[in-house]
């Protein structure tokens, strides 16, 4: 019961937020929600034990897809967002296929190499991707009479998408499919011997997560109005890794907490200016050496302590 009320409260908070905060913060919240989709979709891959260094490239695939379709072919938003996601899913399948022979560090480095290959395609070809300068003049979204150039309407659009994407990812996590992924991570040999086609599930997780990264990319492209290959390079990828490490991937909410905490830290540390990446680097090192499970693992430790405290057997919930 408490959970539903909290969820409702959070949703209500998000709903009225644009009225309360200034336009600058609305823009930040838009980026925040896009990053939530990115981080949550990344977590799907880690559920079965794979860590990828190519995830932001799939955001790029979605971004470039919508840019090309909207700018050159005049496609409407619903078409481009669907195709952006699909394009990312397809490229994701192509990328993960050779990687299935690797795991752990090999998978990580291999995913980086293949992601970089895709990204270099955008750098190399001025037509149609615009080369190193990227693409500008991405048309803003047109739906009925609402002008999505403004921050507030865009905020609500992204809010709807975020709720939708997170809901789907959450359902997958709770489903049998989600359990199979976790089983693969826990004991791959056992999983194989009870009939689980591990390769197929790893590929599916990778491709689905790429799909959502693509959606995030579409939303990003139409907000920024311009994209270039540097938006999706290894630097950005490291930031995603930092969010996910800080939050932890043990639970569904971990990466979301990580995004929230790190974006707050980022905002609070604005006075540090060019010294900010140093802080982020230090935080990454600190978490990986001292609290590798992230804030998530802190939460479960706290929960464990609380469970133990109720000595008369009744469990806290």
């Amino acid at each position: 019961m408490i959970r539903y009320l909290t969820a409702l409260a959070v949703l209500a908070g998000f709903a009225i937020m644009p009225e309360v905060i200034g336009e600058y913060y609305v823009e930040i919240m838009i980026l925040f929600m896009i990053n939530l989709i990115l981080a949550s979709s990344f977590r799907l891959i880690t559920t079965c034990g794979d860590w990828s260094l190519s995830h932001v490239v799939f955001m790029g695939v979605g971004a470039y897809a919508t840019a090309l379709l909207a700018k050159f072919l005049g496609w409407p938003f619903w078409g481009t967002v669907l195709l952006g996601g699909m394009a990312s899913a397809v490229v994701g399948l192509a990328v993960v296929f050779p990687l299935l022979r690797t795991k752990g560090f090999g998978f990580f480095i291999g995913s980086f190499a293949l992601g970089e290959f895709v990204r270099l395609i955008w750098v190399k070809f001025h037509f149609p991707f615009g080369g190193p300068r990227g693409m500008i003049g991405i048309p803003s979204i047109e739906l009925s009479d609402i002008d999505f150039y403004e921050a507030t309407p865009y905020y609500y659009l992204v809010l709807l998408f975020t709720i939708g994407c997170l809901a789907v990812l959450y359902r997958i996590d709770l489903s049998r499919t989600g359990r199979v992924l976790k089983a693969i991570y826990a004991d791959e040999d056992l999983s194989k011997c009870i009939g689980i086609n591990v390769a197929r599930y790893r590929a599916m997780a990778f491709s689905v997560s790429a799909f959502f990264a693509g959606i995030a990319g579409v939303l990003l492209a139409h907000r920024l109005g311009a994209i270039d290959p540097k938006n999706f390079d290894v630097n950005t990828m490291v930031y995603l890794v930092i969010w996910v490490v800080v939050g932890g991937v043990g639970s569904f909410w971990g990466p979301l907490i990580g995004v929230a905490v790190m974006m707050l830290v980022g905002e609070a540390a604005r006075p540090l200016a060019e010294w900010r990446p140093l802080l982020f680097g230090g935080i990454l090192i600190a978490f990986l050496t001292l609290l590798p499970g992230g804030l998530d693992s802190l939460m479960s430790k706290v929960r464990e302590l609380l469970d133990r405290r109720t000595a008369d057997g009744t469990k806290e919930n």
Binding site: S175, T177, L190, K192, C193, I194, G195
Partner: protein, 255 residues
């Protein structure tokens, strides 16, 4: 009809012949024991049959189908499932959830179904079947406990439960009573008999514990240095001179 036909099976590890020209036939409904001194190649044998290793030579036929180079999940799908010598389970899930994961082959879930919660029907059925398996193994009172919290003997029982959930035709148990006390051994023996008698499965087990093997098995195959040394009824094996010699000095050949 022989449910498992192994012909001239060999497994070479870069010069080390772990299995050499093994021939074996297991009849449906049998309980077959595979014994041999340490390092004889028994677990390698299991690993090859279950697809974890690829054989260097020979063929394996299961229920009329060649499974020689298939992947472990395909072989499990066909109905041949093995357990592991080590404790193999899903630590962060409860006993019931562990067995339910074992229902994978009988729970087709598509991505769409996962998101929109279809196949609720199948899920209820699977949970019921899982509960029955947990009951038949005497673990009902532990069904909501985390698998990692169970005592060793129950964890080994859980291994068997997960394998049973796949509804195999052939169950291959790798040292099912290793490290167990007499009570646990007796319980496991009861379970294995139940699997054959009431569930109609064929069982093949690798074991070192002679008492269990002699009690339980219809027929015994002895492997030494990767080759088949002897094969026959427990009584015959007990009196076989070559077998006794291979085990010379070992204490487990107490009658």
């Amino acid at each position: 009809m022989a449910i498992l036909e192994v012909k001239n099976l060999s497994k070479n590890f870069g010069g080390l012949m772990a299995n050499r020209d093994l021939n074996l036939e297991v009849e449906e409904g049998e309980i077959r024991g595979v014994i041999g001194p340490n390092g004889a190649g028994k677990t390698t044998f299991f690993n090859v049959i279950s697809g974890v290793y690829k054989p260097s030579g020979g063929t394996i036929k299961f229920d009329g189908t060649f499974i020689t180079n298939l992947s472990p999940d395909k072989i499990a799908e066909l109905g041949a499932v093995r357990t592991f010598q080590r404790v193999a389970l899903f630590p962060n899930f409860t006993v019931l959830e562990n067995v339910n994961i074992g229902r994978h082959l009988h729970a087709r879930e598509t991505l769409f179904g996962a998101v929109f919660g279809m196949s609720k029907h199948m899920e209820i059925e699977n949970l019921e079947k899982s509960r029955k398996i947990v009951d038949s193994l005497g673990m009902t009172e532990h069904q909501d406990e985390l698998a990692s919290n169970l005592p060793y003997g129950l964890q080994r029982a859980l291994n068997v439960a997960i394998a049973l959930a796949t509804e195999p035709r052939l169950l291959m148990l790798d040292e099912p009573v290793a490290g167990m006390n007499p009570t646990e051994k007796a319980e496991m023996t009861r379970i294995i008999r139940l699997i054959r008698d009431e569930m109609g499965m064929t069982v093949m087990l690798v074991e070192h514990d002679m008492r269990t093997v002699m009690n339980l098995c219809d027929k015994i195959t002895v492997i030494d240095f990767g080759e088949k040394l002897a094969e026959g009824l427990p009584q015959e094996i007990r009196e076989n001179k070559d077998v006794i010699e291979a085990y010379l000095g070992a204490e487990d050949i107490v009658a």
